[in-house]
């Protein structure tokens, strides 16, 4: 199968759906002329000049206008530039997009997609490095997808563009350039279906996004120590695939949840809590969470490394749980 980058797969998904559906259009900061800060829209440069455009730096109206456009029957895709800047327009999402359908008694279809980069990169520091997916998992009213591979981003974005509910997609900055197999033919990936990336018997590691790759690396090293780790990529957080996680825990009797976002009250706490509520009897040890230390992201490379989890933290957590 051909291999393309994460960014190329994303671009293909959007382009193919735009060709099929004239109601889809996309806007945001630095996308039309520049192809996005991290090149997410590079493959869209020069395509559909009337349906791909740059906006002023006005996040509250960028996100809120997506809602208005959806309410009149269009299908906007809005890039949020950096996940951090979701906070500068947050009311339009948490108070409007996530609530309007419910508080109006289920009126209308909200075909809209918010998408953009999150996570650490090369010393981007505190206001350009955040992972804030937990917030959107916490506030009800939007579906949350977080692909980790080129194959998944294409399939999940295409699914999102066919959904009648609002969707937010987080794309890790360090994943845009990774390559992976993506078939030529059309496909979508349903929400709420995790992928077992690697089967194992001793411990389950539930993760998403960049930490999927870190966890796979950890599993490879753990193999040398005779430990067999099962790595589960949730792929979507709303909804999340409880069934696959619990089945795996029943097999391995040990669970580690690994994410780049802060450990304190990160979504790993939710997974942990649900598993102990529903599969307590199958656990042989307390569940361990791997997450960022609870400070804003520092600038200096060594400080960033100290705060951010990587494969070594996953190995350590697994060894601790199996001790």
């Amino acid at each position: 199968m051909r291999e393309i980058t994460f960014a190329e797969a994303l671009g293909e998904a959007i382009l193919e759906e735009m060709e099929k559906d004239p109601a889809i259009f996309t806007y945001g900061e630095d996308i039309a002329k520049q192809g996005g800060i991290f090149g997410a829209y590079k493959s869209l440069l020069g395509k559909f000049p009337d349906r791909i455009f740059d906006t002023p730096i006005s996040e509250e109206v960028i996100y809120g206008s997506a809602l208005g456009a959806a309410l009149v029957g269009m299908k906007p895709i809005v890039e949020f530039h950096f996940a951090d800047f979701l906070f500068t327009g947050i009311q339009s999402i948490t108070l409007q997009i996530e609530k309007i359908r419910y508080m109006t008694g289920g009126q209308g279809k909200l075909h809209l997609l918010l998408r953009g980069p999150d996570g650490i990169s090369n010393s981007a520091a505190a206001q350009h490095s955040e992972c804030i997916e937990t917030i959107f998992m916490h506030v009800p009213g939007i579906k949350v997808i977080i692909p980790s591979t080129p194959y998944d981003v294409k399939g999940l974005i295409k699914k999102a563009l066919q959904e009648d509910d609002p969707v937010i997609c987080f794309e890790h900055k360090m994943l845009y350039r990774i390559k992976g197999p993506v078939p030529e033919e059309d496909y979508t990936i349903p929400f709420g279906i995790a992928e077992v990336k690697r089967e194992g018997n001793d411990v389950t590691v539930v993760t998403i996004s960049r930490m999927v790759h870190e966890s796979l690396k950890a599993a490879e090293e753990l193999k040398n120590d005779g430990i067999s780790a099962e790595i589960i990529d949730l792929r979507t957080l709303v909804p999340w695939d409880k069934k696959t996680v619990i089945e795996s825990v029943k097999k391995t009797n040990h669970l580690v949840v690994a994410h780049e976002t802060w450990k304190r009250a990160g979504w790993g706490a939710e997974i942990t809590s649900v598993v102990q509520e529903e599969a307590f009897d199958y656990l042989d040890a307390p569940i361990i969470r791997v997450g960022a230390k609870n400070v804003p992201m520092p600038f200096a490379a060594n400080l960033q490394d100290f705060v951010t989890p990587n494969y070594k933290d996953v190995i350590e957590a697994v060894k601790q749980i199996l001790r």
């Binding site: 109601a23 259009f25 349906r51 906006t55 002023p56 006005s58 509250e60 109206v61 960028i62 996100y63 809120g64 206008s65 997506a66 809602l67 208005g68 456009a69 959806a70 309410l71 009149v72 029957g73 269009m74 906007p76 009311q91 339009s92 108070l95 409007q96 309007i100 359908r101 419910y102 508080m103 109006t104 008694g105 289920g106 009126q107 209308g108 279809k109 009800p140 009213g141 579906k143 009648d164 509910d165 709420g192 709303v238 909804p239 409880k242």
Partner: protein, 326 residues
């Protein structure tokens, strides 16, 4: 301009219907019949009525927490409105929204909104969607003087201006943002002056004069429909009632309120209609009685309607409810 008797009496009837809906809502709330918060549109009826009289059924509006008047002027079913105030199954939002979230997308009402300024980005987006669809529909965004001090206002006007979106921003300056006087929270006399900053027309008019509102909006609607872009109309009025029903109103004196009652929009319009011999005593009586009858029927409808099933609280978040664990 010359207007037909029917047209003028229609405007008058709409204003009277809004007034009576609000008087009833106030009464019911004070009697402990209605839960939540109620924000009354009393004294501001001319704005919704005059502006919306220019719209087609397929045009859109966004409304505010003080939104009953906009809904009624756009043709909403008052039975379903009243039922929503009661939190009933038959209400516009099936009891999930209440007064501050009434909407009817099929009438182009994209929602009242509990967030000051919250409707502005939505209105702009509706305008953007219309432009992308290449349709000639338009959007009227109602909002208050309080909203004009939010970031959403400034972002929205600029955004609408650069893309020449068909959005008319109708600012209802009722002199108060909650308990704060506009004079103390806004440094300029006419908020429409801010339109200059976005390169769009801005005009300040008497919001208690329904004909002035109608005629000014008409001009801006024509402009918007012909791809001329957005505009800002500041309608000056006065919030005769408190911010919400039950507001102790410690921030203003009663005398000021009494003075403004003398200039309230329905009386003002009546005087004109009587002077021009368009409205006589019998007609006036009929219009008020007809409105009161409709409101009473709406209350009966609401009271007799069932409350929603408790389990329905888990529906309507996403289109396909099943399969997702909330």
């Amino acid at each position: 301009m010359e207007y037909s008797k029917d047209f003028l009496l229609n405007l008058y009837s709409t204003m009277v219907l809004i007034r009576n809906f609000e008087l009833m809502a106030e009464k019911l709330f004070l009697e402990g019949e209605l839960p939540g918060f109620i924000h009354l549109y009393i004294g501001e009826e001319a704005i919704a009525t005059g502006a919306i009289a220019n719209l087609r059924k397929d045009d859109f509006i966004t409304s505010t927490h003080r939104g009953h008047g906009h809904m009624i002027a756009k043709g909403a079913d008052i039975n379903r409105m009243m039922a929503e105030l009661y939190g009933k199954e038959t209400g516009y939002c099936k009891g999930k929204g209440g007064s501050m979230h009434i909407a009817d997308f099929s009438l182009g009402v994209l929602g009242a909104n509990g967030v000051v300024g919250g409707g502005l980005p939505i209105a702009v987006g509706a305008g953007l969607g219309i432009k992308m669809k290449k349709s000639d529909q338009i959007v009227v965004a109602f909002f208050g003087d309080g909203a004009s001090n939010t970031g959403a206002f400034h972002e929205s006007l600029n955004f609408a201006a650069i893309y020449k979106l068909p959005v008319i921003f109708v600012l209802e300056n009722n002199m108060f943002a909650s308990t704060a006087s506009t004079r103390e929270t806004t440094a300029i006399e006419n908020i429409s002056d801010r339109a200059v900053a976005y390169g769009i027309p801005g005009i300040t008019i008497d919001g208690n004069d329904v004909i002035a509102v109608y005629e000014t909006t008409q001009e801006m609607v024509k402009r918007a429909r012909n791809s001329g872009g957005p505009s800002l109309i500041e309608t000056k009025t006065y919030r005769i009632k408190g911010h919400f029903v039950g507001d102790p109103e410690l921030y203003r004196n009663k005398k000021e309120v009494e003075e403004f009652w003398l200039n309230e929009p329905i009386k003002k319009f009546e005087k004109r209609l009587e002077r021009e011999k368009i409205l006589n005593g019998t007609e006036k009586k009929n219009i008020w009685e007809s409105a009161q009858k409709k409101i009473k029927e709406a209350v009966i409808f609401a009271k007799e309607s069932p409350i929603p099933d408790g389990k329905d609280a888990l529906t309507d978040l996403f289109i396909h409810d099943s399969g997702y664990d909330y």
